[in-house]
């Protein structure tokens, strides 16, 4: 508890360095990653990050010193080459985008590993620490790193603000964007610049692997929570920052817990929780929704069948056998459905069977009417054959709202007092009447 308080207040200077830097980095890569994610080019970040290794090493070989600025330039250059190469391959050959990304990633990274092995075996002295560009060393960040990330954050923010609308238009509808005079090429270059800028300064502190993860996981998690661009950027940035914050806390709380990998673990947990529990798009919500829908359809089918029995003069009392002549219900399903209807007050139990309540009768009649309206609509407007319309209507009857019903009636030139029950007999021969 003491440690938590100490951590939150950022009392310890090293905690301050790491937390400020990692939160800034998480935020900025979460935002930049969102653009790539929304353009359906999520793996670009991963490819660029891995492709920077040879650039870093060649910069070291040429300059002979481990100057961060020279190595960032090298990284940016080879990152840029990788993006260009991916575009070139996809445009000039039959190779698909994902294969092109994989080819470029593995060849650049392979070249990087070759160079690293070469440097490690041929060069003595000051080469130590080059392998940190792969796995990073997030716990060892200094105030310079925080300053760099803050500047990058600011630059990214300004660049995004300066052409926010063009970026938005290009991401969501690039054909429309081009038709109103926004250069897609320019926006592509802008997003590439943002990506390269973020990764090239990031890999020095946290390494290639963590940078790739920070660009990909937070946007993926954020997408579960929103459908809008600005909230998406904010949520994604917050997730990245939160992951960094939690990861460094665990690393501060427990011994021998590396900060960078823990950050990735925390971000991944956030993504997993989002995938499961986010409202609307989460798996749990969707499963629940599907279950509710299935229940409603069963209830409506049962009510409709009961109403049809009544209309056909089979009496107001019904049981499972009678309903099953129209709509088959297994015993278990029947029990569950009829119990729910009873609880909702749509049916009553009457000694040997069930009978519809007023509300239940109206509800069932609504469904029956919608079924028939849709059949009429399909025949008159869609020129569908009589034999095909029934199956279509079986599904649609559950989804037609009163508004749509009104509209269809209007379009067919019928008034809302139109009684499809009368109309329908000429269209579909009812087995009972025939």
């Amino acid at each position: 508890m003491d440690l938590l308080l100490k951590y939150i207040t950022l009392e310890d200077p090293n905690v301050r360095f790491v937390v400020v830097a990692i939160v800034l980095l998480g935020a900025v890569s979460g935002m930049v990653g969102s653009f790539n994610f929304l353009r359906k080019k999520t793996l670009v970040g991963e490819t660029v990050a891995h492709s920077m290794l040879p650039g870093v090493l060649i910069a070291f070989l040429l300059s002979g010193v481990k100057s961060p600025i020279i190595m960032i330039l090298g990284a940016a250059l080879s990152g840029w080459m990788s993006i260009w190469l991916v575009d070139y391959i996809t445009q000039k050959s039959k190779i698909k985008g994902d294969s092109a990304l994989a080819i470029v990633l593995s060849s650049f990274f392979g070249l990087g590993i070759v160079l690293l092995t070469m440097i490690q075996s041929r060069f003595s002295g000051n080469q130590s620490g080059l392998d940190h560009y792969i796995f990073g060393n997030a716990a060892a960040m200094t105030p310079e790193d925080s300053t760099t990330f803050a500047v990058v954050c600011l630059v990214v923010f300004v660049l995004v603000m300066s052409s926010y609308l063009s970026i938005k238009a290009t991401i969501f509808n690039s054909d429309y964007a081009q038709s109103i005079g926004i250069s897609r090429k320019k926006i592509d270059i802008l997003i590439s610049i943002l990506t390269i800028l973020t990764i090239s300064v990031g890999i020095k502190a946290v390494g290639i692997v963590m940078m790739s993860a920070l660009l990909i996981i937070p946007p993926t998690a954020a997408r579960f929570w929103t459908d809008r661009l600005v909230p998406m950027l904010i949520i994604s940035g917050c997730f990245g920052a939160l992951g960094g914050w939690l990861g460094s806390f665990i690393s501060y709380y427990e011994t021998n817990m590396p900060t960078g990998p823990l950050t990735i673990v925390c971000v991944s947990i956030i993504a997993f929780v989002s995938m499961m529990f986010a409202p609307k798009k989460g798996i749990v919500y969707q499963r629940w929704n599907k279950l509710l829908l299935r229940r409603r359809i069963n209830e409506e089918n049962l009510l409709k069948a009961a109403v049809q029995n009544e209309v056909r003069g089979k009496g107001k009392l019904f049981n499972r056998a009678q309903i099953n002549t129209r709509q088959y219900f297994e015993q278990k399903l029947w029990n569950r459905t009829i119990n729910r209807l009873k609880n909702k007050g749509f049916v009553y139990k009457v000694h040997t069977g069930y009978t519809l309540s007023m509300a239940g009768r109206n509800y069932g009649a609504d469904i029956d009417r919608r079924h028939k309206i849709w059949e009429v609509y399909l025949q008159r407007r869609m020129q569908m054959s009589v034999h095909l319309v029934h199956d279509e209507a079986e599904t649609m009857e559950h989804f037609l709202t009163p508004e749509i019903e009104e509209e269809i009636l209007g379009e067919l030139g019928l008034c809302s007092r139109f009684n499809p029950l009368l109309e329908i007999h000429e269209i579909i021969p009812d087995p009972d009447i025939a």
Partner: protein, 301 residues
């Protein structure tokens, strides 16, 4: 076309075969994994022996991945000498599969009491034994015995060289002791990036504290860094040291942390741990001992 390819294939096969045949010259090729072993062997070997260090100075043997060229060097050797105790992580795996050359594991006769183990993981052994003089003598004796058994014609020469080298080591040990004893007793704490100096500290009487465990493969987190900063500020330790195989980044952040807490700690030069250095006063085993002692004394005094 197919014939040409077949000939090419046959030709390259024969080329491979001839290459792998050992040169039957007079020199005996001895490949040593690190620069430290190779310096030991240089001191005891006869002139007929050619000594090749596999790893250049400044390279971390823990994570080193052998390349094709290294394999060629290993295959062409008559004798291969390595530290063992998991020091050369990947190279040992390669050596296990080697056949032909005489392979000497210098750790085979170590006295188990002298070996430092991680208290929480007794299976993990600190492999940086060359900073313990008894273990070093054991290693050198093992090398000499094995070489004498393989090449009896050099036995006398090897033995006399070894005795001369032992007395040289003893001399240096005395010097190191006197240098370390010039540091006031309360200030004999050496802080480095990597726990390679435990044996050195035990032999010559100072404490060693590090970020990582015994191997560079283990990672450290924020807790280790803040703990070290607190320790330095608490004990008012004047300097921390880098090592020639590890990135200086971690120590820089420790220094910045101390500064933010109002304590200026100097970062000393790189100490030599897993390999010798390039410079004149660092490139032999005895020079390494002296260099480390002088550097530590200079910064901690």
């Amino acid at each position: 076309m197919r014939k040409v390819l077949l000939y090419l294939l046959l030709f390259s096969l024969t080329a491979c075969l001839t290459k792998s045949k050992k040169e039957n010259g007079n020199t005996i090729k001895i490949v040593c994994t690190t620069s430290i072993i190779s310096d030991w062997v240089v001191n005891i070997a006869s002139n007929e022996m050619q000594i090749i260090p596999l790893l250049k100075t400044g390279i971390d043997p823990h994570v080193y991945k052998p390349s094709k060229r290294d394999l060629d060097i290993l295959r062409s050797a008559d004798v291969i000498i390595y530290h063992g105790l998991h020091l050369e992580g990947k190279i040992i795996e390669v050596l296990k599969k080697m056949e032909g050359p005489l392979i000497i594991n210098v750790s085979q006769n170590y006295s188990q009491d002298l070996i430092i183990r991680d208290p929480s993981f007794p299976a993990s052994i600190d492999p940086h034994v060359w900073f313990d003089l008894d273990l070093t003598r054991s290693a050198i004796t093992t090398i000499t015995q094995n070489l004498s058994a393989e090449y009896p014609q050099f036995k006398d020469e090897l033995d006399s060289n070894m005795q001369a080298y032992f007395s040289q080591i003893n001399n240096v040990a005395k010097q190191v002791k006197s240098i370390i004893s010039s540091i006031p007793e309360g200030q004999r704490t050496v802080i480095t990036t990597h726990d390679a100096l435990s044996y050195f500290g035990r032999s010559f009487g100072f404490n060693v504290k590090t970020l990582q465990g015994a191997s560079t493969v283990s990672e450290f987190g924020l807790k280790e860094i803040t703990g070290l900063v607190d320790f330095i500020v608490d004990q008012q330790i004047p300097a921390i040291f880098l090592e020639n195989i590890i990135s200086p980044q971690a120590m820089i952040s420790v220094q910045k942390g101390c500064k933010a807490k109002g304590f200026e700690v100097k970062i000393g030069p790189e100490l030599l741990s897993d390999s010798l250095g390039d410079k004149e006063d660092q490139n032999t085993y005895t020079d390494m001992l002296l260099f480390n002692a002088r550097t530590i004394a200079e910064y901690l005094r």
